[in-house]
Every structure is written in structure tokens, then in C-alpha cells.
């Protein structure tokens, strides 16, 4: 079984984020990292390789030149090789454009199982996995809290708003995993050094046969017109519990009509 893991290079969540004049995230001006939510997918793929269920694990990213750092991190955790789609024309792509590039790259790389995180930690859209599945005509099982592969069947548990479901799909399939699947291992120094020797192939839109007009700004189906920081909350009342804390809390709740 060949697994391709989709990974994204995102701004460090705790850093101070800036936006470029075109209202996209200023990725060059902010420290970046492999999205923590994708690390869970990298870990699952590595476990499947260790158990013998997978014989090849490839990491795929679409992003600026710096995104290679994210691929190196994934390769330190596991995997055999990586593919980096990088092209200036991709800048400004919406989820539709990104999913098109990913699907074309997947067709080129070949796959039995595509693993992704449940969302990116920056845009948090959670729609790319389903879009990729739809474009590939592959099976799909999203938001897996648990994952196992038996022959050509992938089984997952997913918790929706109304039920905890057990779903099985046959390969080829696209599966997104949540942070319930288990923390990624911390790569040892030797693994970090070893990752530098693993091959990373770069591809352009032309290599994939994607028309630049379908992606980036020209192909965008939506555009951000305003980004503003969530208004700071006005400072509230903080009291020390000197024995009356509970009563003061009850007064506050009653004053707002909650009790």
C-alpha cells in the first residue's frame, strides 16, 4: 500500500501573525512550522509503515519555498520521500484551487491511501480532504479519531454531532485524522539528520498540467475583503476568593439573568 500524506506549512500558532497588503497571511514574515494537526496524519502513516501495512509513504505539500521545512520535519518522523508543489501562480488560491493542485499531484504520484490532518491550524477550513476525494473519485472518510487498515479496507471511528460512527471504506481512499489518533513521536537527532538525505521532488503547475488561470488570484472563487483582529475584550472584574468568591460569582450570574 502506498500512502500519500498531505501536509501544510503554517505560521507558528503562538507567533504574532501579520497580513500582507493583499490580505493573505504574510508567510514570509512569520515563523512557520508543519501544521500540528498534520503531524497526527504523519504519525498514523509512520505507524502503518512500521506495522508492514504500508510499503511507501510520501509527503505532499503545496506552498512557498519555505514549506520545505515542513516536509523535512515530516521526513524526520517517517516517510520515504516528499513532493513539493511550488509555483508563484498558486499564491492567493482558495480551497477549490488548492484541492485541484493536490488532486493533480496525487494522480501523478499515485496512491492507495491519502491521509490528511482534520484541518490546518491557520485557516481551519476542514474542506480540502473532501474536495480532493471528490475530484479523485476516491472513497472518503473524514475526522477519524481511530484508524486501521485491513487488506484493502480502511476502518475509522468518527464522532459527528449526533453519533459516534464506525465507517469502513475500500481503497483508494482519502482519510482525515483528528488529534485523538495519538501524538506524533518526537524525532531523534539521528532521524532529523537522516531526513536531510531523503529526496524531495519539486513540481510546478506546468508539470501537473494545471492551467495557472484556474488557481491563485485569477481562479479564486472567493476573496477576503477584510481581516481585523477579534476585538479585545474589555477587562472584567476579578476578585480574590476570601470566602465570598462563590457568593460574588452567584451575584454576577444572577445580575446577568443566568440564574
Amino acid at each position: 500500500m502506498k500512502i500519500v500524506v498531505l501536509v501544510k506549512y503554517v505560521p507558528e500558532p503562538t507567533a504574532t501573525w501579520k497580513f500582507a497588503p493583499d490580505l493573505t497571511v504574510d508567510r514570509a514574515g512569520v515563523e512557520g512550522r508543519l501544521s500540528e494537526l498534520d503531524e497526527y496524519a504523519v504519525e498514523q502513516a509512520t505507524r502503518l509503515a512500521e506495522s508492514g501495512a504500508a510499503d511507501e509513504v510520501v509527503f505532499l505539500t503545496v506552498g512557498p519555498a519555505k514549506a520545505t521545512e515542513g516536509l523535512r520535519k515530516a521526513l524526520a518522523i517517517g516517510g520515504t520521500s516528499a513532493v513539493h508543489v511550488v509555483d508563484d501562480a498558486i499564491h492567493g488560491s482558495c480551497a477549490l484551487g488548492t484541492s485541484l493542485v493536490l488532486a493533480k499531484a496525487l494522480e501523478k504520484i499515485g496512491y492507495d491511501l491519502v491521509l490528511t490532518g482534520m484541518a490546518s491550524t491557520d485557516a481551519e477550513l476542514s474542506v480540502v480532504p473532501s474536495m480532493v476525494a471528490d475530484r479523485l473519485g476516491a472513497n472518503q472518510a473524514t475526522f477519524a479519531g481511530e484508524l486501521s487498515v485491513d487488506g484493502s479496507t480502511v476502518s475509522i471511528r468518527r464522532d459527528t454531532d449526533v453519533a459516534s460512527e464506525r465507517v469502513s471504506v475500500s481503497l483508494p481512499a482519502v482519510v482525515s485524522v483528528t488529534d485523538q489518533t495519538g501524538e506524533a513521536r518526537y524525532p531523534a537527532f539521528k532521524a532529523i539528520m537522516g531526513a536531510k538525505k531523503k529526496p524531495i521532488q519539486t513540481m510546478s503547475l506546468a508539470d501537473l498540467g494545471v492551467d495557472a488561470a484556474q488557481v491563485g488570484w485569477s481562479g479564486a472563487s472567493s476573496k477576503v475583503v477584510d481581516v481585523s483582529p477579534t476585538p479585545a475584550r474589555t477587562a472584567g472584574t476579578i476578585v480574590n476568593d476570601d470566602g465570598t468568591g462563590a457568593a460574588q460569582l452567584a451575584d454576577f450570574l444572577a445580575g446577568r439573568g443566568f440564574i
Partner: protein
């Protein structure tokens, strides 16, 4: 006016609250039509009409149960192609996201997931999203109609339509695996749904969350006094002290109205699920806990002392519980 189909989720007890919120939001965009997967009983149709649906498409097919999002997405695509709506609204959630994503691909339409507000101006739909772990509000415009928007539950309130709304008409939509769809399911045959275990409802607009194992009993009591749900931080769900569906945060649920956090430090991933709550109350023994910075009211103290004592006060006279959670307009 343009139609706004939106998919309705129903339960044995009637239509789910997030659906009524969608209908309320859809009324600002056009004339809402509702898509019901499964049985559209008279009771369901009447309730959808009460919230403004002027048309109900009932999509009945056994495939709805046998497959995940695909037949639903296909039905919505067919209805959209027939009715040419300005927008398609779906409730955010694992299934809503899957359906919306496929619909957007098939219609090559702009998608805005997890919107908290949606509006239309001169035929162009815009929506507001909370992004980057809740730190920014982004407003996006859809450039290719129809706008496919998934709406966060509890972000808007559900309000019945003015009495003048015209009565709903109900039309049965042919099963989604009729011509045009089967061919799009080439590899979906292998899918099975195993036995499902029911999940507790997370419909409460408020929550009392605690990070401490021993605090669950006091949280429960406080939540009951408030008519709210119990939530948890990931530390708690990772330890299996509480089930994952109670987790609040980036990879959990979002709370919109009132939030009482007891013994939670306030990591950005946790804040992502609660910082837009209208009222935030924090109890923590560490005066430096970051969550105090966004609290409307905070008590520096031991939650084991503060929580039990605060919930012994009986609910205010005549306070109806769900309403009692709705803070005064401001």
C-alpha cells in the same frame, strides 16, 4: 427573490436548532427553501415553515444511510441546478463540511466554511469567519455563485419568521441515485456504516468546563443550575476523564453564549472554542492564568470551594432555563 436552499437536520423530536438558525440567516439573503434528508413529516414541514421555509425538498433514499456525504451532496447539487439559488447554507460539523466541500467542487462555487455571519449586497454574498484560533475575523466575498456557506451552530439565534411568511410547499426530490449520480459513485460500494452509539446532545448555548478530574461533579451541578452543558479541556479528554465530545476548543466544540471555565489555563487552542462567548466567567487558583485576561468575571480561588457554593443558590423566580442563559442584548 432568489431561493436559498439549506439542508435541514431533523430528529424524532423535530427539526434541530442549528437548522432553525440557518433558516433565520437565510431569510436575510432571499426566500429560503429547505432540503430534508429522510422523512419530511407534516410536523417537520410546519416547523420549517414557521422559521421561513417557503419550499421543502424531501430527499428520500436508502443511500442516505448507506453512504456518507456523497448522495446528500449530489441531491443538493441537483436541487441547486434546478433552482439556481444565491446561496446554499449548511450547518458546520463533520458531515456538513463534507457535503459543502463536494457541492462547491461540483458547482465550481465559492465556499466559506464556519461562518458566523452571512449577508448579501447587490447579489454578492459575504460571510464572516473567525480564523487563526479565533484571533482574527475575516470577511470574504463569494466571486462565483452560488455561495456555499457552512454556518457555526449558535452563532446566530433562531427566530420564527413574521406571520406573513407564505406556507411551505413540499416536493419529493427523486432519490439521489437516479440517473446522473450512480456513475459518480464508482468506488463507494465498499462503504459500510457500523453500529452507531448515540451521542449526548450538544445543543446548549452555554457550558461549564473544567480541567480537573475531581471537578466534574461540581461542574455538573453548576451546569445544571445554569441550564448549561458540561465541557472539558483537552487535558481532560486525553486522560479519558470526560468523553471527547465534551471538549471545547480548536479540535472540539465552540461555545457561543456563556462560558464558565473552572481550572482551565487558557491555551490558544482552548480559547479558539470559547473566546467569542458573550459572557466568560473564570475560576482558577492561579491569578496569572491567561484566561483571566478575557474574563468578564473571575474568581482567583480553589474551584472545589467556589463552584459548589456558587450553585447552591436557587434559580431566579420564573427563570426559564434556556432563556435564562441568553444574556441581555448588548
Amino acid at each position: 427573490m432568489s431561493e436559498v436552499p439549506r439542508s435541514a437536520e431533523t430528529t424524532a423530536a423535530g427539526v434541530r436548532k442549528p437548522t432553525l438558525e440557518l433558516l433565520t440567516a437565510a431569510r436575510a439573503l432571499g426566500e429560503p427553501a429547505a432540503v430534508v434528508f429522510g422523512d419530511a413529516s407534516d410536523q417537520v414541514v410546519a416547523q420549517l415553515a414557521e422559521y421561513g421555509a417557503t419550499k421543502v425538498y424531501a430527499v428520500g433514499s436508502p443511500d442516505m444511510q448507506a453512504f456518507l456525504s456523497l448522495p446528500k451532496a449530489e441531491a443538493v447539487v441537483q436541487i441547486a441546478q434546478a433552482s439556481n439559488p444565491v446561496a446554499i447554507l449548511v450547518t458546520s460539523g463533520p458531515e456538513g463540511k463534507d457535503v459543502a466541500a463536494r457541492v462547491a467542487v461540483r458547482l465550481n462555487a465559492g465556499i466559506i466554511p464556519d461562518a458566523t455571519k452571512v449577508s448579501v449586497d447587490g447579489g454578492t454574498v459575504s460571510a464572516v469567519q473567525t480564523v487563526f484560533a479565533g484571533r482574527f475575523q475575516a470577511t470574504s466575498q463569494v466571486l462565483r455563485a452560488p455561495a456555499v456557506v457552512t454556518m457555526r451552530p449558535n452563532a446566530t439565534s433562531a427566530e420564527a419568521a413574521p406571520a406573513s411568511a407564505s406556507a411551505s410547499s413540499r416536493s419529493m426530490w427523486p432519490s439521489a441515485t437516479q440517473p446522473g449520480c450512480q456513475g459518480r459513485l464508482p468506488r463507494a460500494q465498499g462503504l459500510q456504516r457500523g453500529p452507531n452509539s448515540p451521542m449526548p446532545r450538544w445543543s446548549s448555548p452555554g457550558a461549564v468546563a473544567s480541567a480537573r478530574k475531581m471537578a466534574s461533579a461540581s461542574s455538573r451541578k453548576t451546569a445544571d443550575a445554569l441550564g448549561a452543558a458540561v465541557g472539558a479541556s483537552r487535558t481532560v479528554t486525553d486522560q479519558h476523564w470526560a468523553p471527547h465530545e465534551l471538549q471545547v476548543g480548536q479540535t472540539g466544540k465552540t461555545v457561543a453564549l456563556v462560558y464558565l471555565a473552572a481550572g482551565i489555563s487558557g491555551a490558544i487552542q482552548h480559547r479558539a472554542g470559547m473566546q467569542s462567548s458573550k459572557t466568560i466567567v473564570v475560576v482558577n487558583k492561579d491569578a496569572k492564568a491567561p484566561l483571566f485576561q478575557i474574563a468578564d468575571f473571575g474568581v482567583v480561588g480553589d474551584l472545589h470551594a467556589v463552584l459548589p457554593a456558587s450553585s447552591t443558590r436557587s434559580p431566579g423566580a420564573g427563570a426559564d432555563r434556556p432563556d435564562a442563559l441568553t444574556p441581555p442584548e448588548h
